[in-house]
């Protein structure tokens, strides 16, 4: 890749001014020597990120429908939105994987005490009120 071909077109991520995240590419200059060039963004990569992000939203939307119809508990929706598997959730909270799967059912979720709820909410970075609603 030549220095003049380094993509600067599609800056998908608009980071905070303090952080200023930025990619860096290695490219050849006219003399055939490698140079480091900061790169703003490249559309194929951003398409991949966007696509994964949108499909994740769609999946969470499908789970939300099932929560509304009473098949799953709100925990299942929040886990789908955060892309958490039951194994990860078990690691963060200290519950077993089997118990996490159980809490995804409305009946068992309703029987949880406040301590267990705050543990689950802490792992998902949200408050208990947010955990029991599905907005």
């Amino acid at each position: 890749m030549k220095v003049k071909d380094v993509p600067q077109d599609d800056s998908f991520v608009q980071p905070d001014r303090d952080v200023n995240l930025c990619g860096r590419l290695f490219a050849l200059d006219d003399d055939g020597k490698y140079q480091e060039v900061p790169s703003a963004g490249w559309s194929p990569r951003n398409e991949a990120v966007r696509f994964a992000w949108n499909s994740r939203k769609e999946e969470a939307g499908q789970v939300r429908e099932k929560v509304l119809s009473g098949k799953y508990s709100p925990l299942a929706f929040h886990m789908a939105r955060a892309m958490m598997t039951s194994g990860m959730m078990a690691g963060y909270t200290g519950f077993s994987r089997r118990n996490i799967n159980k809490f995804c059912k409305p009946k068992h979720f309703a029987s949880l005490d406040s301590e267990a709820l705050s543990k689950l909410a802490g792992a998902l970075n949200m408050s208990v009120e947010e955990l029991i609603s599905i907005d």
Binding site: M1, V13, C22, G23, F26, L28, R45, V49, S55
Partner: protein, 336 residues
């Protein structure tokens, strides 16, 4: 308290952290040189090992190997720790930090609050360097950012104990002494190139090294049958993200390794290595072409005149060329 640490922006998280750490101790190496000495370039595709639900595709060696390889090669003494108890891990970090030593950490990316939301995935191979403590906040030198960042102690504890595939378990590493440090010489570079060539050509399993790319091509042909149209596109998106996500220097480290070969050719005075560098650059361009075409699957669900078969053929060409390059590179180093 903040250590007088020169923060440098880098292309890849681990090699840039190692470069910045070595720089702190007065050993100046470029980032491609660190990647090359650490034998960082690799390929593997493991369908049975899932990272956030998709088959793991990696363009680098295991996280943490660059640091240990570079320091061992240069004769620098270092310590590595991991802890069961998060409080022990934070106490040890404070203790080392207050002694004036910058500490490298392996963390998960999901709870890194200074990252934009789109980049926060459950990926546990990110490296950063802690260089100071300000009240309850830690001062972080993350090479992906152009400036230093701050992270609260609670968040740092969370990212150090991220869950999922390959959990970091609070792992930390730091340099203890540089008194036996040897200057960079030709033998070190040659040894590391031979190690890289071994990883890329000789591992006797189909998923690893350059032939792993052909293995990925074979798997790719089955994706539509196995996962359906959407699932196949999601798997492809995962491969492109691993290839081009910020932190590879372009084309999955191929350009960075080519830059290393160019630097080595000047240091060793071997023009042949520069030839290999140009060939690897051409392969990197093929990777870019692959991702450019693959992106059409994300824009339209059914791109006209493009199938997974076409992408698989592109990968097979790349596989054959990389295999050829690394075989000849090994021969040229071993037999002059």
């Amino acid at each position: 308290m903040e250590i007088n640490f020169e923060h440098g922006h880098g292309a890849h998280c681990e090699s840039a952290v190692v470069r910045n750490l070595l720089n702190f101790y007065g050993i100046r190496l470029s980032e491609p040189m660190v990647l090359g000495l650490g034998a960082g370039i690799f390929f593997c595709h493991l369908p049975f090992f899932k990272v956030s639900g998709y088959a793991m595709t990696s363009f680098r060696y295991i996280s943490g190997r660059i640091f240990s390889d570079v320091t061992k090669t240069l004769g620098i003494e270092y310590r590595k720790h991991s802890f069961k108890d998060p409080d022990d891990a934070m106490a040890k970090l404070d203790e080392v930090l207050l002694g004036g030593t910058p500490v490298g950490l392996r963390v998960g990316m999901y709870n890194l609050t200074y990252f934009p939301k789109e980049y926060r995935v459950h990926f546990n191979g990110h490296n950063l360097c802690v260089i100071g403590k300000d009240g309850d906040d830690y001062i972080i030198s993350d090479p992906i950012g152009q400036n230093k960042n701050k992270l609260s102690a609670a968040d740092l504890k969370k990212v150090r104990y991220a869950q999922g595939a390959l959990p970091p378990n609070g792992s930390m590493y730091y340099i203890t002494s540089t008194k036996n440090c040897k200057p960079l010489n030709a033998g070190m570079i040659e040894k590391s190139i031979i190690k890289t060539c071994y990883n890329m050509t000789h591992i006797p399993l189909p998923m690893f090294g350059a032939k792993g790319i052909a293995y990925l091509a074979r798997r790719m042909r089955k994706w539509e049958k196995l996962f359906g149209k959407r699932g196949a596109a999601l798997n492809l998106a995962q491969v492109i993200r691993m290839l081009e996500e910020i932190g590879t220097g372009g084309a999955g480290f191929r350009f960075m390794y080519a830059a290393f070969l160019q630097e080595a050719s000047e240091l060793l005075n071997r023009p042949g290595l520069n030839q290999f560098s140009m060939e690897l650059t051409a392969v990197g361009d093929l990777w870019r072409d692959f991702s450019y075409n693959a992106a059409r699957f994300f824009k339209q669900r059914d791109p006209e005149g493009l199938t997974y078969e076409d992408l698989a053929v592109k990968l097979e060409v790349i596989s054959a060329r990389e295999l050829d390059i690394f075989k000849r590179l090994e021969n040229s180093i071993k037999h002059g």
